[in-house]
Structure formats: structure tokens, C-alpha cells
């Protein structure tokens, strides 16, 4: 399914490197000493049984949780503790396992909100809705419309997202993340709760995002078929520990992974 051009991911530079990161809540260890990297332009899957620490790992990457130990390097610069909006500023976007849209707003406004970072015009121009503020609204609207076109959600653009079916909500959420023009896009189970057709559509969109916008993607997914089709490399976690890391074929035949999925590990 991957585009035939065949970028050489293996030789790519690391966009994000996680080194020896550990995270605990109270006494509970969520992540223990995990190291891995995400290379520029790749689709990186993170898999593992429930409670393996996958979502926690994403939360660490985009600044929700501060790891107790370890180092994170993003775009070549080591990163200290930060808030999520700082991660956003740095170029990390994110979708959630349970859709986290702004329910009271239309699909269009949700995606427009995703461009908050790109909008700079001052308060008074906005108050008057003229000049630079208007020009900016229009410019950003055009960019957002391209995303709407890309995700084929024209027909729901002015509908409140709360009223949309689940599959479309997920698509709008992806649109909002895309609107940020991120360098790194984190997708937390983008296909959870979807039927086969919706899954296929979403896979297509993820591949297209990667190919068309060149966005680096890290995604958590349960459907192994999807993971194998989509990703360049797969990281496997179990109980907060990394048990495998490699190209899909390798991971698939890794004994530790098979055990973890059959519930035999430890």
C-alpha cells in the first residue's frame, strides 16, 4: 500500500529521540526506561496490549506528563519540561483515543481552531473585522478548505461536530491536527470503533497525509493488519517496557511480541 517512491527511512535522521524515559504515577510505573526514535518522514506504530503504556508515552511526547527520568530530543534539541501548547508550538500535533473535538463548534470552526498557532493579527483588527484580521481569516479559511477537501468532509463542513457520526468526527479531528501543519503527528488509535470501510478510508488518509504533506506520524493501533500495512517501523511495549522495535515483518515474528499478545509474558 505504501507509495512506490520508496524513501529510505532507514537512513533518515531522527526527528524525535526518546532515551531511557521512565514515568510513574504515585507508585505505579507506567513507562520504564524506554528508548526509541522516530525518523523524519516515517510512519511509526506503537503497539502493545492494554495498559502497556502506549498512551502515556504519547502524553510524555506532547508534554502532558513530565517523565521522572530520561531525555527527549526533538528536532535535534534536548527538551526540558514543557506544557502541551509548547509542544504544539514546536510542531507536535495529536488526536485522541476518544474524540476530543470542540463539541459546540462546527467542523469548519474546529479545523479553523487548529490554525490558532498560525494566526497573529491583533485584537483591535479582530474587533473591527477588517484589514489584516479579515485578510488573515480568509487566508486561513482557504488553507482549512484545502484540508476539508483533502479529507472529503465538504458535506459536513457547517454541521456541529457533536451531531456527526463517529467516523466523521475522527476525520474532523485528524483535520484539526493537520491544520497545525505539524512536523510530528501523534494518532492515538485513529481507527478505534470504526467499521471495516471506515478503517480503510482512514488508512488511506493516513498514508496520504504522510505522502502528500510529508508529515511524520506516530500512531497507536490495535488492528495488527492495519499496523503491518501502514507502518515503516513498529515499537512494541508491554507493561511499560519496550519488548521489540523494528520493521513490521521482524516484529511480527518476534517471540516476545507473540507471547505478550497471547498473555504469556512474565
Amino acid at each position: 500500500m505504501r507509495a512506490p517512491s520508496g524513501r529510505d527511512i532507514a537512513a533518515g535522521e531522527a526527528l524525535l529521540a526518546v532515551e531511557n524515559v521512565s514515568l510513574a504515577f504515585g507508585g505505579v510505573k507506567a513507562i520504564s526506561d524506554v528508548s526509541f526514535d522516530i525518523r523524519r518522514g516515517e510512519i511509526r506504530a506503537i503497539i502493545g496490549p492494554n495498559g502497556a503504556g502506549k498512551t502515556s508515552l504519547l502524553n510524555v511526547i506532547n508534554g502532558f506528563y513530565q517523565p521522572q527520568r530520561g531525555r527527549i530530543t526533538f528536532k535535534g534539541r534536548p527538551r526540558s519540561a514543557m506544557r502541551p501548547y509548547e509542544a504544539a508550538l514546536g510542531g507536535i500535533a495529536r488526536t485522541f483515543q476518544n474524540v476530543a473535538l470542540f463539541k459546540g463548534m462546527t467542523a469548519l470552526d474546529n479545523i479553523m481552531a487548529g490554525r490558532a498557532l498560525k494566526m497573529r493579527r491583533g485584537f483591535f483588527w479582530q474587533l473591527l473585522w477588517i484589514g489584516p484580521a479579515l485578510a488573515e481569516e480568509i487566508e486561513q479559511r482557504r488553507r482549512v478548505e484545502e484540508i476539508i477537501d483533502f479529507l472529503k468532509i465538504q458535506h459536513v463542513r457547517k454541521i456541529q461536530v457533536g451531531k456527526l457520526p463517529y467516523g466523521l468526527q475522527k476525520r474532523v479531528e485528524l483535520g484539526r491536527a493537520l491544520a497545525m501543519e505539524p512536523d510530528l503527528l501523534l494518532l492515538d488509535e485513529p481507527m478505534a470503533g470504526m467499521n471495516l470501510e471506515e478503517k480503510e478510508d482512514m488508512s488511506r488518509f493516513i498514508l496520504d497525509v504522510n505522502a502528500y504533506y510529508g508529515t511524520t506520524i506516530a500512531l497507536i493501533e490495535h488492528d495488527m493488519g492495519v499496523v503491518m500495512d501502514l507502518s515503516d517501523r513498529v515499537l512494541v511495549l508491554d507493561h511499560g517496557v519496550k519488548i521489540a522495535d523494528g520493521v513490521p515483518a521482524e516484529v511480527q515474528s518476534n517471540q516476545a511480541v507473540i507471547d505478550a499478545y497471547l498473555g504469556l509474558s512474565h
Binding site: R141, R142, D149, Q154, A211, Y212
Partner: protein, 682 residues
Amino acid sequence: MRDNNLPANGGKGLAARGTGRGEGRIAVATEAVCADTFPKLLMRNARLFAGRPAYRHKDLGIWQVWTWAQVLDEVRAFSVGLQELGLARNDKVAIIGSNRPRLYWAMCAAQALGGVPVPIYADSVAEEMAYILDHAEVTIAVVEDQEQVDKLLSIVERLPRLVLIVYDEPRGLRDYDHQRLKWIDDVQKVGRDRLSAGAGRLQRWEAAVAAGRGEDLAVMLYTSGTTGRPKGVMLTFDNLIVSAINGNRFDSLGPDEEVVAYLPLAWVGDHVFSYAQPFTAGFCVNCPESPETVSEDRREIGTTYAFAPPRIYENLITLTMVRMEDAGRFKRHMFHYFLAVARRWGEKILNREKVPLHARLLYWFGERLMYGPLKNRLGVSRIRLAYTAGEAIGPEIFRFWRALGVNLKQLYGQTEASVYITAQPDGEIYADTVGRPNIGVDIKIDDNGEVLFKSPGVFAGYYKDPEKTAETKTPDGWVHTGDAGLIDTKSGHLKIIDRAKDVGRLNDGSLLAPKYIENKLKFYPNIREAVVYGDKRDFVCAMLNIDLTAVGNWAERNNIVYGSYQELAGHPQVYDMLAEHVEEVNRSLADEGMAGAQIRRFLVLHKELDADDGEITRTQKVRRAFVAQRYAPLIAALYGGAREADISTEVTFEDGRKGMLSARVKIRDVQTMPVPTMEKAA
């Protein structure tokens, strides 16, 4: 106000003759004849209507507009670009995709250089496309998006002549091998670069346009037909332009019309109504955002001139009825009350007949409270003229629209005639006729009832098929339509009964026009499709398709649980309901003196007739013989007297995979009205 009895003796001379309404229009008509190809018309329009909108496309959330002058610029750049990439005179250029301005421009860009556009149905599977591309010897394909590119790439090995694929929508195509794949923007850029490099290039292009002649081949439209391989109907510029101008004059179409282009590009209807007529009359073509938003887009634009097969009008009524069933009691009563008022008086008022004052008053209220808002919701309130064509329309459906004040008219046309054969002039509207010959058209009825015509729009021939051409076109220029018809003595209009070959007789000698009965059945919102058999049989039988929207809605209201289309279709209560419909049809057939052709038995098919399975054509016509063959066991059971029958058919899914679908279908007997003995004797 206007002379409806124009002599039906066609030709260019007539087209150029003014009818004495506004000078401007005469000027347009005259100039159009000087401009005898579409590229020449484009250059004329860019002069005459420079700043007026020519194309709108809902894209990126708003209506992007191009004026005629801008369109000329775009087409010119495109055309020069194509030339640089190797397009030569008489090359065939396939156009595949939905209604987008740039695909229409591609046609004109090709025509400017003497190329011949060959629009192909965008939903055709790769196999169908391969046949046409090969048969038409296509060298360049201009397509919409990745989907079509993928289709073409899958068959490209078999098409050595196809050297270039040009696409409109770049999404997903970035990483493709671009050796013989080009984005329209890049083609245009090549063109623009050449044009700006020196004035000579522009003159050369204009010379190429000037070299085009009216008698040149303008377009090839492949008709799917009901049997056999598609045939390439060759139409010249003269065919299309003269027909279009005559059509414009017949209905006084001017540069102010708004049409929404949503029908398949490969259909002659779309080609004339969204390409030839806008080019000749100078009005604006509006392309919808996506197939899902057509009705929304239609409402935004407010079409003034519409053209659609009956199915569209039918669907809108079904939608209206279904929605009104869900409305509150008060509103529902009001709706039905005013609908009754409209049915009684609406047509008369539209036809400017004399009606009593109270009726006018009631209708006025109805217009304010019901018809106006309804038309507004359906996006038809600005419609000045709407045509239904392609198939006969149910009289009830036809009257419904006219009763609401929509000037719906019937038109009879064919690809081989560049559409126009007959049409109903304003003020002479009948539900069961297709009107008088259009300007420039002669018709006659054959001994066996077949309609023949002669007109400036008569096609040049079937591509690479002189045999078929000779079969259809007599040496003295008459064309066989393949339809059986008669001239109505009262109105002088043509009446189409059925396909000439489909009109049959029962074993007892009664006349059977299957389509006529099918249309009666299909008027019921619950019945989506009907196929009637009886030729050389003892009695008439019908196979029905339910309408999932209407019946599903009914089921919901009546707490009928169903898991699938198949289950709903086989539900006994659904059968009861349909049996009532069939009996009503029988009654009306008996009333109209066709008692012999009443339906004795019927069944409800377990699946919808589907174009992907070849059961209906892409233009939604039932392939009766094919269906008969495919469902032979069912037909045998219908005539064999069995209570039910097993059927197993191969179906094609949306993604092209195939599978088997089996079902046990029940058969129902229906009451018939007694056949008067007099009738039988006759």
C-alpha cells in the same frame, strides 16, 4: 407571445433567421453561425460576454467563478500545452471524471486543435474503459483524480496508443511516475510559457482554431445501448451547434440562464445542456462541489434551466413525500390540502387557462405557504424551464411538478440527433406526449410504428461501424429511433409508447407496451424499478424492486424489523402493500382500454437492479432481455404457477469484487379487472 408553429424544415439557414424578438439575440444567433466550432464560440463569448460568469465551481467551500474571458485564457493555455505535449489534429482525447470546469475546458482545448473529445462515464469499470479507449484510438486522457488514473494505469499496457494522462486533482499522485502523467496546471504552464515566449505562438493557435470547420467531427459519445458493445456516435460541430441554437430559440434561452452540471459528461444530454447550449447562448455552467452536495449546490445557485431524467424528478417527490410523512399533523394536513388545490388548479394556472377567482386565491395562499417554500427547499424556485427526457415520465410525477408551478416539459431526443427531436412548446403541455418536432426537425412514423427523424443534428455515423450506421440511417437521411410512437390526433404531438422492439402482443392478441405499465408501477414511491413481461405469453407478469428509502421509512413507522434489503423485500406486509399498488395499476389499465395487459402475478426481487451487474444501463434504463435471461428461473416460476422460486445470481460489489447472492423469492397473484369482450375482439 411566440410563434410555436415554426416550420419544421431545419438547416442552417433557418437557424440564422431571427424571429423578431430583441435585436441582441439575433446578433448572437448570427454570430454563432459564423463561429461554427466551440473554440470559435469561446472566442466570440470572450468578446461579447467578457466579464460575465461562464463557469462556477463550488470548490474549497465557495463558488469559484471564471468569466468567459478567463475561460478563454485557461482553455488557450491548456490547448497550447496539449499541443506541445503532442496533441495533433484528429487525435482522440478521452475525458473521464465528474462535472468539473477543467474537464469541460479540456474538451474545448482539444477541439481548438482539431482533436476530438471522447467523454467516458466516470463510474465505468476499467474493462469498459479499456474497450472504449481502444476502440476510439485515444491518445490522451484527461481525467479527474487518482481514482481514474489508477484505473487507467491498470489497463495502460493494453493501450499502446495512449501516450499521455492529464489529471485535474493532484492529491495522492505526487509520488507517481510522471513520465506520461501530467497535472493540468503543468500542462497549462507549458502552454502559458510558450504563449508568452512570442506572439507567433498565439497566432498559430488562433490559426488552428480558425482552421476548424463546422462539418468537422466535434465529439464522440459512446452510447451504452441496451445490447452489445457501446457504439461511438460521431457528432459534428454543425450537428451540435445548430441543434443547440435551435434549442435556445425554441425556449428563448439567453445569457442569463443558470444551469447546474451534474449529469455524466459522456451523456449527450449533459454535452448539449452543459456544453453546447452555454457556449452558444453564453450562459453560466455551475459545477457542484461533490456528488453528495448536488442538491445543496443546486439550491445555492438557483437553477433557471434544468434538464434531468425522470428519475431525478421522481426522487425529489419521493423525498418530499417521505419527509412530509414525518411532519407534524397540522403541517401534513396543510400540505395535503394545498397539494389537492395545486393538483386541481395549478396546471391550469401555469397554462394560463381561465380559472375561478377563489381558486386563484387559494393557489396564491398555497404558493405563499407551501409551494414556494417547497420549491425553495428543493432548489427549483427560480426554474424557468425544466425538461425531462431520456425516458417516459410517470404522468402523476409530471403533473405534480407542473401543479407546483414548475414549468416542466417533456422532450424526446437521442444521441444520434444531438438530443433534440421533439419538445413541448410552452402552453402545450400534456403528460403523455413528448411534444412537437423541434425547430429544424422532421419526423415520420414507420409502418411498424417506429419513429424516424431528420434534422440538422443527425449524427455523422457510428465510429468505425458503417454497417450499424447504414442500419440506422437511411440513404435519404432518415434516422431510425428504435422507438414506437404515434402522433396524437388531438394535440398533434408525438407520443412514445415503448421501444419499437419491446412492443409486443400477448398470445390472445392484446397489445402490450411494457414500459407503459412499468412507468405506471414506478409512480408509486414504494416501487423503485419494475420489469414487465408478457410478449408471446398468456398473461402479464411483473418483477419489482422496492425503494429502500420509502419502504424502509414505512417499515420504521410500522415497527417492522428487517436486517437487509433482501429481508425487507420479502416481507409479507410489503407484498401486501405492493399487491394493492399492482391492483390499482390493473384498474387504470382497464380504464384506458388495455385490460388485456393487466398484471396477473408479480414478485419482488431480492436485490436492486444494478448498473454494475449490467442489469440497467448507466443512464438507468432496464435491460429487459438481459434481466429476463439472468432471472430466467423466476420468470419460469411466474408463468409456471409456482408459489415461490429459488434464484442465485452473481453480483458485483462496489470495489469490483464479485460474489454470489441466493434467495428464495415469493410470488403473488393479483386480482384483475374483467376484460370486456368488445376489447378482446378488437
